[in-house]
Amino acid sequence: MGEAFKPGCRPPVPVTEATTDEKPVIQASEKESERRETMLKVGKPAPDFTLNAFHKGEFKQYSLSEFKGKWVLLCFYPGDFTFV
């Protein structure tokens, strides 16, 4: 699971955007409703993403959707070299 890659000078493939079509000007109210739609709720699907990762000596890319069929514990933390 997770596809290995060799990083070059530019960071490889940035994060997949969660948003749909981007509009040139977003009204405050539209922005608010959009935000509410993407807001996470228990009992609802976890927003999918693709991120670069370090795993056991390799640089790889993972998508949350790859883990369908498995339980996932997703843990955010403030920064490396701090406690978790």
């Binding site: 228990v42 993403f49 339980w71 997703l74 701090t82």
Partner: protein
């Protein structure tokens, strides 16, 4: 234990590598066993409501996601307080149990693996006190 762990911070994959090599591998044999994801810019953290734009870092957010990709539970703490992994494990085991029971079982407050579970239904209404009581500490 049957759960895939993914850690996420705004640090780069290079910093993850350094942290693993210089510190974590000295705390855990063989280094970090799970993928360390890099969310530079906090886009994913924003989707999950854990990214602090002012500080530019992600709060301590922990999400339990089931095999259908559904968020079953989460906990978010500000940086100075660390988490209790035992509680995450307890919740994961409870969610696993109720999923396997396909809605026929529920785990009451203070439930721990091995404790009796509730079987929701008409007979249980008004009778929870017979099968379950809070722990006396």
């Amino acid at each position: 234990m049957g759960i895939e762990i993914l850690s996420v911070s705004v640090d780069s994959i290079y910093t993850h590598k350094m942290w693993n090599e210089h510190e974590l591998s000295k705390m855990v044999d063989g280094g970090v066993p799970f993928p360390m994801l890099s969310d530079a810019g906090g886009k994913v953290g924003t989707m999950y409501g854990v990214y602090d734009e002012e500080a530019g870092v992600e709060n301590r957010g922990r999400f339990i996601i089931d095999p259908d990709g559904i968020v079953q539970g989460y906990e978010v703490l500000t940086p100075p307080v660390g988490r209790n992994i035992e509680e995450s494990i307890r919740q994961y085991k409870a969610f696993q149990l109720v999923r396997e029971a396909k809605g026929t079982k529920a785990t009451p407050a203070e439930w721990n693996p091995g404790d009796p579970v509730l079987e929701p239904g008409p007979d249980l209404v008004g009778n929870v006190w017979k099968v379950w009581s809070p722990k006396k500490k």
